[in-house]
């Protein structure tokens, strides 16, 4: 039997890699992909919990996470395109509209 903690550790590692990708890359699309990676790592841990606790809630939550992720990806990419139309770059260190 595989212990629950293994799954969680795997999830933690994947999550950290996702965070790293998000913080270190300059390409906005890859940052988005990193985001998806983090979401998936969480999903893994949720499903694992669900299995070991013999509860359905974890799976349902994953279901919603996937929904939100889909919505987020759609909107995020749409914003990206809209932005790109005005300002043809997707390098994140060239986008500083938040600067006051």
């Amino acid at each position: 039997m595989v212990p629950l903690s293994w799954y969680i550790m795997l999830s933690a590692v994947m999550f950290s890699i996702g965070v790293f990708g998000f913080l270190a890359r300059r390409n906005l699309i890859i940052m988005f992909i990193s985001l998806e990676l983090m979401l998936n790592s969480v999903n893994v841990s949720l499903v694992a919990f669900s299995h070991y606790l013999q509860s359905m809630n974890g799976q349902i939550l994953v279901f919603f996470v996937i929904t939100v992720a889909a919505a987020e990806a759609a909107i995020g990419l749409a914003i990206l395109i809209a932005y790109y139309k005005n300002n043809p770059t997707i390098k994140v260190d060239e986008i500083n509209l938040l600067k006051g």
């Binding site: 039997m1 595989v2 629950l4 903690s5 293994w6 799954y7 969680i8 550790m9 795997l10 933690a12 590692v13 994947m14 950290s16 890699i17 996702g18 965070v19 790293f20 913080l23 270190a24 890359r25 300059r26 390409n27 699309i29 890859i30 988005f32 992909i33 990193s34 998806e36 990676l37 998936n40 999903n43 893994v44 499903v47 669900s50 299995h51 606790l53 013999q54 509860s55 359905m56 809630n57 799976q59 349902i60 994953v62 279901f63 919603f64 996937i66 929904t67 939100v68 992720a69 889909a70 919505a71 990806a73 759609a74 909107i75 990419l77 749409a78 914003i79 395109i81 994140v92 260190d93």
Partner: protein, 172 residues
């Protein structure tokens, strides 16, 4: 070391490796493709965890829809210039350090998890007797009906939002 454990170790190593590849490829198309591979692995892992329905959704929605969307966008933007430039942000060493420490802490915390005897009503047998999809469906449409409806609205909003944002503005 059981077969299960061996298989899990394979998945763990493969998934970590693929994840690293995803975030380090210069060409976003490559990243997306590795991501697809990763999704397949995750789906497989779900099967081990008695979540057949989610495994299917993972493939269909993530691999089939979201990642394809990413590919479309990459092609739409036609990013040749990006490939020649520095791919990491200036702050990447700090990020790497922070993430490493974070990972260590995560693992330290996670290793303390104690697994109690399973108490829930959805034991493996129970799920088997009804079938995974039916079980998920029953919970989803009874206890989680309202969140489900709200999720559908979120999707609707996302659809409209995406169209409005991405369509060519007519007046400018």
């Amino acid at each position: 070391m059981t077969v299960h454990q061996l298989i899990f170790i394979y998945f763990a190593i493969a998934m970590t490796g693929i994840s690293l590849l995803v975030v380090t490829r210069r060409n976003p198309v490559h990243s997306v493709l590795f991501m697809l591979v990763l999704f397949v692995h995750i789906a497989a892992l779900y099967l081990f965890l008695n979540a057949e329905f989610l495994a299917a959704v993972q493939i269909i929605v993530y691999a089939g829809a979201i990642m394809v969307l990413f590919l479309f966008v990459i092609m739409l933007l036609n990013l040749r210039r990006e490939e020649t430039e520095e791919k990491f942000h200036r702050q990447w060493p700090v990020s790497a350090g922070a993430v490493a420490v974070l990972a260590v802490f995560f693992i330290m915390i996670v290793s303390k998890i104690v697994v109690l005897p399973a108490l829930g009503e959805y034991s493996i047998d129970a799920i088997r007797s009804e079938g995974s999809i039916m079980t998920v469906g029953k919970v989803l449409f009874t206890k989680y009906l309202l969140p489900f409806e709200i999720a559908s609205i979120i999707l609707l909003v996302a659809i409209i939002g995406a169209i409005v944002l991405a369509k060519k503005s007519t007046n400018s």
